[in-house]
């Protein structure tokens, strides 16, 4: 016989009004066992999504988040830093470049749902053959469409691109001109100057900007909804053409459920999300400090 849940008490009451919980249990449910469950445990992190609230976990969502963010960074970092180098070191002061600069600044402020629609149109629909993996023989033939990790990653990549460019530009600007002159005065080419002096000098700033962008991307929910994150999926993403969900989507989905205990699950997932964010930011700070100390 499966154990049945007779009733449950909120977290707040079980911590601060412990005596009332016991009193209630003794008066009304004395024929049952009383358990104090810890939502956030190793089992929660390592289990896939499930409709059983006790067995449900966030592994699928964490992996989905990691996959999308990795693709976003792989896509946006080279383009973003490259664009920043071009704009700061090569671009001449003219109307076209001023328009580009203004547009980048504006794009950084565009609501993320707009990027979601862009991702839906371009990556999910127009480039479906590529993003679904059909072209490469990958993917799930039953549901083959562009709603994959790849589409979501590229959408997030475009979303953080303006932020990355602006942050990298600021970092490159902060490298003193005297360093450039010193290098060029020794007969270095412009690229040698950039590669050996400007980029190492700007790297801590670029890394900080990248981490800030990741933090922004990892919490994005709206574009993921539009691009088509699955709301219920129990299979881990294992390649770029997998269906996926991400942590914020998972949290959103759990809070939307009618059963009250899923809200506790959502709360636990929020703590996981926060922990991921904070530990990434911390590692960025450590990385940055190490770089600046090496000078």
């Amino acid at each position: 016989m499966q154990p049945q849940i007779a009733t449950r008490w909120p977290l707040f009451d079980s911590i601060f009004h412990n005596d009332l919980v016991f009193q209630d249990w003794e008066e009304n449910y004395s024929h049952t066992y009383l358990y104090f469950l810890n939502w956030l445990d190793l089992q929660f992190i390592t289990s896939p999504q499930s409709s059983d609230v006790v067995r449900a976990g966030v592994r699928t969502a964490i992996l989905g988040s990691i996959w999308t963010i990795s693709i976003a960074i792989l896509f946006a970092f080279p383009i973003g830093v490259g664009a920043a180098i071009y704009l700061e070191e090569y671009a001449e002061e003219n109307t076209i470049n001023r328009i580009i600069q203004t547009n980048i600044n504006n794009l950084a402020g565009v609501p993320s749902i707009i990027y979601g629609m862009l991702g839906l149109t371009i990556f999910v629909r127009a480039l479906e053959q590529i993003t679904s993996g059909a072209m490469f023989g990958y993917g799930d033939p039953s549901t083959a469409n562009g709603r994959t990790v790849l589409s979501a990653g590229l959408t997030l990549g475009i979303l953080i691109l303006p932020l990355l460019i602006i942050n990298s530009q600021e970092a490159i600007k902060a490298v003193p001109n005297s360093l450039r002159f010193a290098s060029l005065g020794l007969g270095a080419t412009q690229w040698q100057t950039i590669w050996h002096h400007v980029l190492p000098g700007a790297l801590p700033g670029i890394l900080t900007g990248t981490i800030l962008s990741i933090s922004r991307a990892i919490g994005e929910t709206a574009p993921m909804v539009v691009v088509g994150a699955s709301t219920f999926i129990t299979v881990d993403p294992d390649n770029a053409f997998s269906k996926f969900t991400t942590l914020p989507i998972q949290i959103y989905q759990w809070t939307a459920r009618p059963q009250e205990e899923f809200r506790s699950l959502a709360a636990a997932a929020i703590i996981v999300l926060l922990f991921m964010l904070l530990s990434m930011n911390a590692s960025a700070v450590i990385l940055r400090n190490r770089f600046s100390r090496r000078k």
Binding site: F181, A182, A188, K295
Partner: protein, 267 residues
Amino acid sequence: MPENKQVEITNAQQQIAIEALGLNIHYGDFLAVNNIDLKIIKNKVTAIIGPSGCGKSTVLRAFNRMNDLVAAARVSGEILYQDINIYDPEIDPVEVRRKIGMVFQKPNPFPKSIYENVAWGARINGFSGNMDELVEESLQHAALWDEVKDKLDQSGLSLSGGQQQRLCIARTIAIKPDIILMDEPASALDPIATLRIEELIRSLSKDYTIIIVTHNMQQAARASDFTAFFSVDENRSGYLVEYGITDSLFTNPQEQITEDYITGRFG
């Protein structure tokens, strides 16, 4: 400039290292330097002096095309180095700067080790010999070796201002240029460090042609063989007033304006 003032320089039977011919430099529409003719003698120290804004640093930077880095600067006229006009469109400014090195007003070592500061320029220029030897030789030439030989792996920024400037000179020597341009190399240093730089300039002139811009007339008198005096005309454009052997320019200036400047009546 009247012809007779060029005479004593060309009569000296010296080789010319680099020569400016009808050099004009504009910043946007503003003519900063007007029609300069200047012959720089090989293996000698030539000082360029003059009041602020007379374009002496601008002329110096023209000699290794550092003005290219200033977007608004435009150079016309010729600078002949080994019979080639370095402003010829065919000429790569990077090649020019490998032959004509530069030391800046403010010491600007790279945020790298002392060793790397010296070795980097040589390495990117394709130096394939013994790097340790080159670094030691360059630092010795720059009179810095004894002070840093035990801490070559420390940051170049950990040195004092005077040491940093000598490190910058060492890294310029390491690429074995023909000509070294120095833009007020001692103006950010204290008197003792300044003196050491001047001694260094004197000893380097055995192997290199040196052009030094300074606003310190004593420095020009102490450290240079030839002196060019620049001034500003009524349009605020810089021009060459007088050029000659340093001793005679300071003791027997040909132009009233030169005399006024070196005796401190203006500038």
